[in-house]
Amino acid sequence: MLKIENLHTYYGNIHALKGINLEVEQGEIVTLIGSNGAGKTTTLGTMTGLLKATEGKVFYEGTDITNRPPYEIVKMGMSLSPEGREVFPQMSVEENLKLGAFIRNDKEGIEESFKRVYDLFPRLLERKKQTASTLSGGEQQMLAIGRSLMTSPKLLLLDEPSLGLSPNLVLLIFDLIKSIKEQGTTVLLVEQNANMALSIADRGYVIETGKVIIKGNAKDMLKDENIKKAYLGSL
């Protein structure tokens, strides 16, 4: 479904991605883990057209989408829920979700998406008239994910959905990510919480200083001694 070949991205003079290779198959949860500054967010930004790749290619369903503008990529069915729960703060929950459907004109489809989001996150339905900035951290995260789902993505990219949430909420969010996958949306999950991410993922990639250093089956990776030491802590 998604294939990234030898992707290079620069921030000014800083060489942030040094040849990323990555693949996501239909129906999977793939997780991309790594420490701060490894290039996880940069990878997502380059895939979605927010950042320019200097070298390498991104293929989505067989089409070359390297350096296409974000609005074309969203239309093709790839949606990113950005890091740090970025909601439209002064707008209501419902307005946020409506903006998720900005590019769509299919009446039944939009209604269905609303229903899907409210089914997944009943809290959003309860608070649909509330201003987004007054939601709790977990609710804002749900809203950000829900809004991405409103674009009706085939591939959902999540950037650190567990960031700054309490352990209970983290469990809830990861549970919901599993449900999203079961509903047929492929997920690429970027996380620092490697333990949790690998436990729900099918496959995983570890990146460090702009390169993929380990890849493999998520279950095997969870048991791998080296990964345990470097990323999972001694739990």
Binding site: L50, V74, V87, F102, K107, E111, Y118
Partner: protein, 342 residues
Amino acid sequence: MKNRLMENVNNFIMLMEKKKSVKFSVYGAVFLVMLIIPKIGLPMFMVRIMTMIGMYVILSMSLNLITGYTGQVSIGHAGFCAIGAYTSALISLNFGTNFFITALLGAVVAGIFGLLLGLPTLRLSGTYLTIATLGFGEVIRMVILNWESLTNGPLGITKIPRPVFFGIELTSLNGGLYYLVWILVIITTVVIYRIIRSKMGRALMAIREDELVSKLMGIKTVNLKIYAFIISAFFAGLAGSYYAHMIRYIDPNTFTFDTSIMIISIVIFGGMGTIKGMFLGSALLISFPEVLRFLQEYRFVVFGLILVLMIRFRPQGILGGQSRRDYKMPKGVNLEKIMKEG
């Protein structure tokens, strides 16, 4: 204490807004009063002030589109005004063209300059864009000052013909200039209202809230910001053209940085991102210096003081932060139905 007072005022206004009958009778009454103002023997200068208020409603409405709704602060709007005024004045003087055509041309030329300024600068964000617009306003003034063969330099352009409507010359005396500006205000209001209630308006507000996420939602942020800038410049140019034919004299110092600051003060004072606020803001800020005339040279001190107090106690503007209307979804999307099922 203060906050509670403000809250009560807000609630009252919201309550009144909900009652359709109250709303229509208030608007109807205002409309009637506005209609008869030039005919009830008010002193000439009062009608003139009402006319100036109308002009500033157009200007603030145009700036509000980019500053209030899109979040792009421009302090060079007098530049667009000047372009509209000079274009319209020069065409009507050289070719004897009717005001209604020259004003349109003036607005279009200002719009083109909006595009020219927008293309390179709208990739800038926040403060950088503001500084660029400040520079733009000054560049326009300097060009007008020094391009003597076209603009007559510091001496300005005199004897600009009055607007003529089907053979009737519109003057202050017959109230024509007054009616003309308020008709332009209505046109501007309708156009801006249609824009902000459309899908484009929804996108502009999303850009104001969070540009990055707007991009991720599939909004063409750069294009939309440029469109908004062009429309804004167009109406600023229209107001400038009107001014040229009303005063019948323009020079490089007619549209200065002070004018730009006045426009943005109105937008902030009235309430960014509201339409009613532009009317209220213009009415108050344009009439302040006249009402406070008894204070003589101290009146601008009071003027400044009012602005400072405003920023301290009600930064969202008098009418800001309360009018919220739901976005329109594509035709036929029934959210209520989903609520019931869900």
